[in-house]
């Protein structure tokens, strides 16, 4: 083989192989679920304020997992996972909590932390902590954008003990516990949030399954 032919082979290898790799990458990327973002709705009355509304369900029948609850219809879920909020804004969050609960394995998370005033409004009552033996989930947001600025918000969502039935999507639930709180965003960054109540069902710390899988009990909060 002469040099020019060899160069041709080299070029062809890189192009063909690179093309095949790019295709493989594209396939891998599209096989990896990315959910559409839930945008924070700007307030009509107050400047630099917007509101987000979320729910937590004891299964996946009403969330984003699809009509039949997706692959794991029995896994607990948040209604949305990918949240988008503006920078330097007060975000008012309302979470409808439909799930039952039990004891936290780390009582650290029975406190309301990082919200405006350090409090949350649970079914109309303003509280700064809840009973650690009767928690359904938590909304715990953290992450570090890099420059030492941190955003840490953790709000416990008490267990739902109501009995009045409610239907949402294909799921049948009971009347929810309503938790409201606000926090302030800083500059542009990406944060992760998840639930810190051990509600997955494998043995180590109950953090398997829905807790360890993308798109159930955790998600992203993008500040842009």
């Amino acid at each position: 083989m002469n040099r020019s032919k060899s160069l041709g082979v080299a070029l062809a290898s890189v192009l063909l192989g690179g093309g095949a790799l790019a295709l493989a990458g594209f396939a891998l990327s599209s096989a990896s679920p990315h959910q559409a973002a839930l945008n924070c709705i700007p307030s009509q009355t107050a400047a630099h304020t917007c509101s987000l509304s979320l729910s937590t369900f004891p299964d996946s029948m009403a969330g984003e997992q699809g009509n039949n609850g997706g692959v794991h219809p029995d896994w607990v879920s948040y209604s949305n996972d990918n949240l988008a909020v503006p920078a330097n804004t007060t975000v008012d969050v309302t979470i409808n909590q439909y799930d039952s609960g039990g004891s936290l394995n780390n009582t650290f998370f029975d406190r309301v932390m990082g919200t405006v005033g350090g409090v949350a409004i649970i079914d109309g009552k303003t509280v700064s902590s809840v009973d650690p033996t009767n928690v359904g989930h938590t909304f715990t947001l953290r992450g570090i954008p890099g420059s030492g600025k941190t955003l840490f918000v953790s709000v416990p969502l008490p267990a739902d003990s109501n009995t009045k039935p409610v239907n949402i999507g294909q799921g049948q639930y009971t009347k929810p516990v309503v938790v409201q709180f606000s926090f302030k965003t800083g500059s542009k960054a990406v944060y992760e949030w998840n639930c810190e109540f051990p509600c997955g069902s494998t043995r180590e710390g109950q953090f398997g399954e829905a807790m360890s899988a993308y798109g159930y009990m955790s998600g992203t909060l993008t500040v842009n």
Partner: protein
């Protein structure tokens, strides 16, 4: 190759070695300390010093290998498609092997003595009134509590110039508690308490990252800490909500 030629060219070998050694030593002195995070404790000072010393010590060895390889390439490389003639049939050189063994053993002994000494310093505790901090890892949040005070926090606050003893544990899986600016890390294990200690000696902000793979959001299990003056620390402690 005549003897005089040999001597001349071995001078080249020596020069290459010297230049590479100096370059390596310079990289060792200025490279890591530039890249590594701001040092905020006695342990981290020692870590950076060890890094520099080891790099400087390794420089002549690595330079020796590079210089010999380059020298061999320069003088004995045989290009072309015909097989070169046989080289000298040297099978052994007891002097060379022995010298090599002695030098590498001495270097290893040096590394060991330095390492064991540094380890002893690293592990030494003043034992004087250390501040105890309980560190709890849970997927994917660190929490810190101060025994005897009912205070707990998602960020770590430490007083300056006082030894701190961290008692580290985990609620679910193994995490790795690492104070990036203080050169200390230990795993947080379920059902076990592991301890490490350090003495912060610079005021300011520092980073805490999880260095043991802990699942989905491992990359986000990060938080920051603050080294405060003792009086600032006392007022921070008293300002915190008390937890039952």
């Amino acid at each position: 190759m005549t003897t005089s030629n040999n001597k001349k060219s071995y001078r080249g070998l020596f020069l290459t070695w010297a230049i590479l050694t100096i370059a390596g030593a310079l990289v060792g002195i200025f490279g890591p300390s530039r890249l590594m995070p701001r040092s905020m404790s006695d342990n981290m000072h020692l870590t950076i010093l060890t890094m520099v010393v080891f790099t400087v010590a390794a420089a002549p060895v690595a330079a020796g290998v590079y210089a010999s390889a380059l020298y061999a390439l320069r003088h004995w490389a045989h290009k072309g498609s015909e097989v070169p003639p046989s080289g000298p049939a040297v099978r052994e050189n007891a002097m060379f092997v022995t010298t090599w063994l002695i030098v590498s053993t001495l270097l290893t002994v040096f590394l060991l003595i330095w390492g064991l000494g540094a380890l002893a310093v690293d592990n030494s505790s003043t034992g004087k009134n250390p501040l105890v901090v309980d560190v709890t890892g849970q997927q994917w949040v660190w929490s810190f509590s101060y025994p005897g005070t009912h205070v707990s926090s998602p960020q770590l606050y430490l007083p300056d110039n006082r030894e701190v003893e961290f008692r580290v544990t985990s609620k679910d899986v193994t995490h790795g508690f690492w104070i990036v600016n203080m050169g200390i890390q230990v795993d947080a294990n379920v059902g076990v308490i592991t301890t490490i200690h350090t003495t912060p000696d610079k005021l300011g902000l520092f980073n805490i990252r999880c260095e043991q793979f802990c699942g989905l959001n491992h990359a986000f299990m990060v938080t920051v800490g603050h080294v405060l003056t003792p009086s600032q620390f006392a007022s921070w402690l008293s300002s915190q909500p008390q937890q039952a």
